[in-house]
Amino acid sequence: MPNEPAVRRSEHRPREASRGFWAEAWSRYRRRPIGMLALGFVVFLTAVAVFAPAIAGTKPVICRYKGKLYAPCLGYFNRRWEAPIFTTDKFRGTYPQNLQDKDPQSWAVWPLVFQDPYRRVRENEWPGRSENPSRDEGRPSRLNLFGTDQYGVDIFAKMVHGTTIALLVGFVSMGLAGSIGIIVGALGGYFGGWVDMLTSRITEVVMCVPTLVLILALVAVVEKPTIWKTMAIIGATGWTGIARLTRAEFLRLKESEFVMAARAAGAGPLRIMLRHILPNALAPVLVPITFGIASAILIEGSLSFLGFGPPPPTASWGSILNSARSNLQLWWLVVFPGTGIFLTVLAYNLVGEAIQEVTDPRLREAKK
C-alpha cells in the first residue's frame, strides 16, 4: 500500500506538536489591542493603496463600451493598461460625457469619489457639477472632502493615490536596507577576522556621516530623481543599525550547539548562515526594520517637503506639504497630509514596539 508508511509515521508523532516560535509570537501579538489596531491601520492603508483608482479617480472602474468590457481605472497604475481604444476614440481622459456621446448603450461603474489626483476637474465633466475651486477658495466641502490645492486639484484624490508611495517607500527602501544590513552583518559576524574588521569599518563610516547630509548629497548626484531612486537612496543609507544587530546575533549564534551540529553534519557556511542562523536571528532584526519603515516614510516626506523629492505629477504626501509652505492660509494643505504622515509613522512605530515586546523574552520577563 502506497500510503501506509505515511500513516504510520503520523502515529509516531506526538499528539500535539508544540507551536513554533512565530505562531507563539503571533498569538501573543493578537492579545495586544494597540498593536493590533496599528497593524489594522497598516492593512487599511494597503487596501487604500491597492484600490486607490476605485476610491478616487475620473476613470471608470469597469465600463462597457461598444460591446466590450474595459477597466480604464488601471491607467492610474500604468498608462499602458488603459485600453488603446479610448485613445483612438479621442476620449482625452474625460470619460462621463464621451461614453454617453460615443456609445449611448454603454454603462460604467464609477470610483467612489469622482476626482482626479493629477488635474483639476472641469465644469460639467460630471454632468451638473461645477468646476473645482482653485487658489484660496478650495476649503474642504462635500465635493472636495479634503479641499483643493492652488490649482484646483482635489487633495483627497491626491492623498488616496499618494498612499501607494508612502507604503512603497517603506517596504522597498527597508527591503533594500534589510538585505544590505543582513548580508553585511552576517558576513562580519559569521566569518570574523578581517572580514569583520572590514564590514565593521564600513558600517561605522556610513553611520558617522549624518543621514540627511548623505541623502541630500546622493539626491543631488542623481540627476532626475524618481520615486524609485529616492527609495534606493533611503535604503542604501539606512542599513547600519540592522547590520550591527545582525552581526551581534550571528556572533552569539555561531557558537551555539545547533550550529556545531550542522557543521558536523557537513553543512557549508552558506547553508549554515541561511538555514540555521538566520531564522533564529530574524526576530530581533525585524524590530529595527519596522522602525526603519517608519523613518523611511519620514525621510521621504521631508525630502519631498524640502523640494528634493520626485518631480510632479508623482503625488506624494510630502509634496502636498511642500505646496502648502508658500500658502499657509490654505490650512487644509497642511492638516490632512500632515496627519496622514503622522498616523502612518505612529502605526509602524507601534507595530515595531509590539513585535519587540512579543519576540524579546527579556522584555516579557520584565512585564511579569
Binding site: A217, L328, W331, A366
Partner: protein, 329 residues
Amino acid sequence: MATFLLRRFLLGLITLAVITLIVYGLARSMPGNPLTVQLGESDPSRKLNPADQQRMLEIYGLDKPWPVGYLQWLSRVAQGDLGRSITRKQPVTQLIGERVGPTVLISGTALVLTWLLAIPLGLYASARGGHADERVIGIALYVLYSFPAFVAALFLQVIFAVWLQGTRWELPLFGMTDLPSDASWPARSLDIARHAILPVICQTYVSLAYSSRFIKANLEEVVRQDFIRTARAKGAGPWRVLIRHAFRNTLIPLVTLLGLSLPALVGGSVIIEQIFTWPGMGRLFFESIRERDYPTIMGLTFMFSLLTLAGQLLADVLYSLVDPRVSVD
C-alpha cells in the same frame, strides 16, 4: 587611558578621511558646478562663455579630476585651512563662525529644556508606574515621538502665524529678526526670542519624548536590582530610593546620550532651519549643496564628522568617569 585615547584618535583620523573622501566624491559628481549653477539659474544670458568658465575653474582648482582635488583639500585642512567659499567669497571658517551662533541659540535652548523637562517626567513616570496618569503621559510621549518635526513645524506655523494673526499670541513665521541691525539690543533680543520660540518647540518635543522614555526605561531596569531592595528594606522612602539610589545609577546611559547629541547641538537641524529660514548651520549646508559650493560642503561635513567622532569618544571617556566600574583600558 593614554593608549586607548591614541588608538581611538588614529582610528578616528582614518574614519574622518574616508568620510570626507566619500562626500567629496559625491559633491564633485553632482551635476553642474558652482559657476554654472549660480549664474545659469538666475539669468541664462549671464552664463559664462566656455573660455572664461575654464579659466575660473582653473583658478578654483576644479579643472583637475576629483581625487586630485580631494588630496589638495586634505593637505590644506591638515594645515588648518578650510578654504574659501566659492559662491559667497568668504573663508569657510568665517561662514561657519557666523552661522554657529544662531544654531546653538536654538539647539542649546532646546537641549537644556529637554533635560530640564525629561528628567522630572521620567522620574515621575517610573514612580507612578501602572497608574492612570502614567499611562496617559506615556501614550502622549509616544504620540509626540512619532510626530514628524516638519509636520509639527507646519502645524505650529498655521496656528501661530495664520490663525492667531493679529492677536497678541501671534508669532513670526520665519527669519531670525525683523528689526534693523541698529535697533537697541533689548528690543533686538526680545524680537529674536519671539522668532526662536517655534523652532525651539519643534526641536525640543521630539528629543523630550525620546529622552524621557529613555530615562524611564533605564530606571525600570535599575529598580529591579538587589541594591534597590536593600535601600527599601532599610527604610528609605519611595522618592529617596528613586532619586538617590536608582536615578544616580541611570546617569551612565544618559551621559552617553548627551555625548551623542553633541553633533546635533552645533550641526542644527536642516529641516527646522529650512522651514523657519533660520540662518544657522543646517540651512548653510542645504544652501551649499544647492549652490555646489564644494569648500563649504566639505568644511561642514568635516565639522559634523569631527563632532560625531568627538561625541562618541567623549561619551566613552565620561562613561569611565561617571562609573568607576567601567574602565576604558
